[in-house]
């Protein structure tokens, strides 16, 4: 009974409200609903060519998305896409493929740079354990970063078709993880290695002569070289310039939490692509010279010691200064502190 009463009372109230509404409506000024012209007059603001220009310019807008500063249409992405897909990606293939081809042809025609004289059997310390570990750690990271990086740029054209979706998903995810985590470690160690080897890589007058003689390929004498020859120095300075750019642009991409804009990321990506492809191309040359190209070079980086004959042939100035130390390889390196090691590379 009680509830029924309440219901009726409510109905009456609704009736009163409706009546009031009708009254209000009849008192209001005549509605303009049927007039198209007037309707347009009340419509949203002018949508004209300037509006669309403003849309692209990113001026004077608000976005309902939390945290978003993203204007409506942002054409720079298309520019980035064109540059990355149409220029950087093919150019990288040409550079790396071209370098490989040159090295193979060079090896087939010129062959290995052998030692001119018999080995004497006496060894000279060239790289300490610390330096060798550093070198091979950096080299391993470099190769890991190169392969995973190349997979990010070119992998999709090859591996998905060969191995199928599931394998590809794991492969590319693994590539990204390795690349993202190995990158910063490589960056730190690269700086350590550059600092460690800075002194022996400062340019000297005789380096210019070395270049003019193509490292000994032009003419038949061996140009002067200190502990590091001019070619090695060039590689050092490429790592110190292009290498650091790779690291810096890589870090910008790796940690998207410092307020980088989308445009910053596009630039960082293009920079990273170009510089790393340059670095990989040059590294191929470095790896060739260090392994197949020069008899006895890999031995140095593997054991730490080089033969007297090798030192004389490739680094005559250095040899002149350290030849008195030639002898049998030590069981262990000179004690840390590197004093002895420094004595092995006075120039």
């Amino acid at each position: 009974m009680h509830t029924l009463m309440q219901c009726l009372w409510r109905l009456r109230m609704v009736g009163v409200v409706l009546l009031l509404a009708v009254l209000a409506a009849s008192l209001a000024p005549p509605s303009s609903a049927a007039e198209p012209d007037e309707e347009i007059g009340q419509a949203v603001g002018t949508v004209d060519a300037d509006t669309w220009r403003q849309v692209k310019s990113g001026e004077n807008f608000v976005d309902s998305r939390y945290d978003s500063t993203y204007n409506l249409i942002n054409p720079s992405g298309e520019t980035w896409r064109q540059i990355r897909n149409e220029w950087i990606s093919p150019a990288g293939l040409i550079a790396i493929g071209g370098m490989l081809a040159i090295l193979i042809i060079f090896y087939l025609i010129v062959g290995r740079n052998d030692l001119d004289h018999e080995r004497t059997g006496r060894k000279i310390l060239r790289w300490t354990v610390f330096e060798r570990s550093l070198h091979w750690t950096v080299a391993t990271l470099f190769i890991a970063l190169s392969l995973t990086g190349l997979n990010l740029l070119y992998g999709k054209f090859v591996f998905r078709h060969i191995f199928g979706d599931v394998f590809w998903a794991n492969m590319i995810m693994g590539s990204k993880l390795i690349h993202n985590y190995a990158g910063p470690v490589f960056g730190i160690l690269l700086i350590v290695i550059l600092a460690k080897w800075l002194k022996v890589n400062l340019p000297k007058k005789h380096d210019w002569e070395w270049f003019k003689q193509g490292g000994g390929m032009v003419g038949d004498k061996h140009p002067d070289a200190g502990f590091a020859n001019a070619g090695e120095k060039a590689w050092f300075w490429i790592l110190a310039s292009v290498g650091l750019l790779v690291v810096i642009s890589g870090l910008v991409l790796d940690f998207p939490i410092f307020g980088q804009t989308r445009d910053n990321m596009q630039w960082a990506n293009m920079f990273h692509g170009v510089t790393s492809l340059i670095l990989m191309t040059v590294a191929l040359g470095h790896i060739y010279i260090g392994t197949l190209g020069t008899e006895g070079a890999l031995e140095g980086m593997a054991t730490g010691y080089v033969d007297e004959t090798w030192a004389k042939q490739h680094h005559n100035l250095w040899y002149e200064e350290v030849k008195d130390n030639a002898g049998q390889p030590q069981q262990s390196d000179p004690p840390v502190g590197d004093d002895t090691a420094t004595a092995h590379r006075p120039n």
Binding site: A43, I73, P75, L153
Partner: protein, 216 residues
Amino acid sequence: MAQMKFLCDAERCIECNGCVTACKNANETDWGIQRRRVVTLDDGKPSEVSISVACMHCDDAPCMAVCPTDCFYKTDDGIVLHDKDICIGCGYCLYACPFGAPQFPKEEAFGERGKMDKCTFCAGGPAETKEEEYEKYGANRIAEGKLPLCAEMCSTKALLAGDAQTISDIFRERVVYRGHEDGGWSSVEKAQMSGPDVSGNLDEMAYDATRATREG
């Protein structure tokens, strides 16, 4: 085959964000992910204009072209979808997309991105089961013969979704009714001021994503 497209009639959009809410609700997207957004120019001034935008399901989709994993695909209806099992969260699609459609849940270490999420035209995505599909990509209304919820819920019918031919017919009809001489891409006043030959500028006004070198 149909070519699915969105079209937002800027003369009608009233910035109510109903589409944004409808989308969020239909797809139950992750925290912080808002697939649709409304951009307002000159907010609060007489020249104020609003447009709702999400993924435009581009014909020549930049996201698709730059993705290192190649995880995007186009359905027969012209809808751009992606496979979250393959996505590695690199962010390249976001760098390429002109509309800011791709978004990432911020949950991993060092700001590493999670799997990319974007508007699916309410068409779900690749998955074994319906539940998995809903979990990963949200609703698949297209499979049920329905259109995207954002457009269905739009109170002023500013946001249109459907076959490109059909929705442009609807828009064209509105334009004819409003009396726009230049295809509706500029205002009545402007059109009347500058005479009938404004239509020559139509090409200038339309945004063409493949024209890379246009400054902007």
